[in-house]
């Protein structure tokens, strides 16, 4: 419980980094994405994260978590199949 509160506090305490320019985001205005948006170096992106900021580690961590949860779901699925076989007398191929 303490940990959850701590995480929540951390989340809340992150300052708003965004430069808010709400006038630019006018409703109904369609912004066409062009190649220049991909090459626009004036906008800050996590470029250094990609070069030496070890972003792959983050990708790896998220993948491990996702695949771990998936593994758990597969186990539940198998257990259900087994008990379905017992309850309904079906032949289950797992």
């Amino acid at each position: 419980m303490k940990k959850i509160v701590l995480i929540l506090l951390l989340l809340v305490s992150i300052p708003a980094f965004a430069q808010v320019d709400l006038d630019k985001v006018k409703a109904g205005e369609k912004h066409e994405i062009t190649q220049s948006d991909y090459d626009n170096k004036s906008v800050d992106m996590a470029d250094r994260m990609r070069e030496n900021g070890k972003i792959y580690v983050v990708v790896g961590v998220i993948l491990i978590i996702f695949l771990g949860i998936t593994f758990y779901a597969v186990r539940i699925d198998r257990k259900l199949s087994k008990i379905e076989g017992e309850v309904f007398g079906e032949k289950v191929n797992s």
Partner: protein, 221 residues
């Protein structure tokens, strides 16, 4: 595990989404910056919710036509998975809004409508739990879920678009996904993400349906 292929597909698609969603080049847009990648994670929650709630209402109608309780089970479990995705969509949207619209909750038409939608569906669960008799519960809640679905469509797709101004893309007299819509490179991740996450949600619903079936059979014997 019966018919395992779609579960494998779900895991593969979400795995692809995580890798390419975080690593591929994205348009460099002011204010959005790297948060544009949320498109691949926040938006699929809503697509998934809509698809699962559509499934839910289809099974509700099937139940009303046939009276088979199995359809009602599928209907309610799809609705529950849809509600889970709705909550996740609201929370991720709030976090995203904090750093791009500067407030967790700015009372944007889309935010408000999504919250009302969540309340309508939570009332569906309350209604179900308040009824004892199985057939009565199934019938009343099926009818209510048709109403809930019919209320959700204008709330999410029509009213936000009629609003004078909305920060949310795809609103304010503007159909579709606004600027996200025009970019093929983003779609290459977004569409697989939508399919992958929806299948994950259906998998969760399927697990619960099977659990309920076993429970019901054991109760009857």
């Amino acid at each position: 595990m019966k018919k395992v292929w779609w579960k494998v597909l779900a895991v593969l698609l979400v795995t692809y989404t995580i890798i390419s969603g975080l690593l591929l080049d994205v348009p460099r847009l002011a204010i959005l910056n790297e948060t544009i990648r949320n498109l691949h994670f926040h938006v699929p929650m809503w697509f998934g919710m809509i698809i699962m709630l559509t499934g839910s209402v289809v099974y509700a109608i099937k139940y009303l036509r046939t009276g088979k309780i199995d359809f009602d089970m599928k209907s309610v479990e799809l609705a529950k998975a849809g509600i889970l995705f709705c909550v996740l969509g609201l929370l991720t949207g709030m976090l995203w809004a904090k750093f791009t619209w500067s407030e967790w909750w700015s009372g944007d038409p889309k935010q408000n409508a999504a919250a009302i939608c969540l309340l309508i569906y939570l009332a569906y669960l309350v209604l179900r739990n308040s009824l004892q008799d199985e057939q009565q519960r199934a019938r009343i809640s099926s009818v209510y879920s048709i109403f809930a679905y019919a209320a959700m469509i204008p709330l999410l797709f029509i009213l936000p678009r009629m609003a004078e101004s909305s920060l949310h893309p795809g609103n304010g007299g503007n159909p579709a996904l606004n600027f996200f819509d025009s970019d093929d490179q983003l779609k290459m991740v977004l569409y697989p993400a939508v399919i992958g996450w929806t299948l994950m949600g259906v998998w969760l619903a399927e697990l619960r349906v099977r659990y309920k079936r076993i429970e019901k059979t054991l109760e009857e014997n």
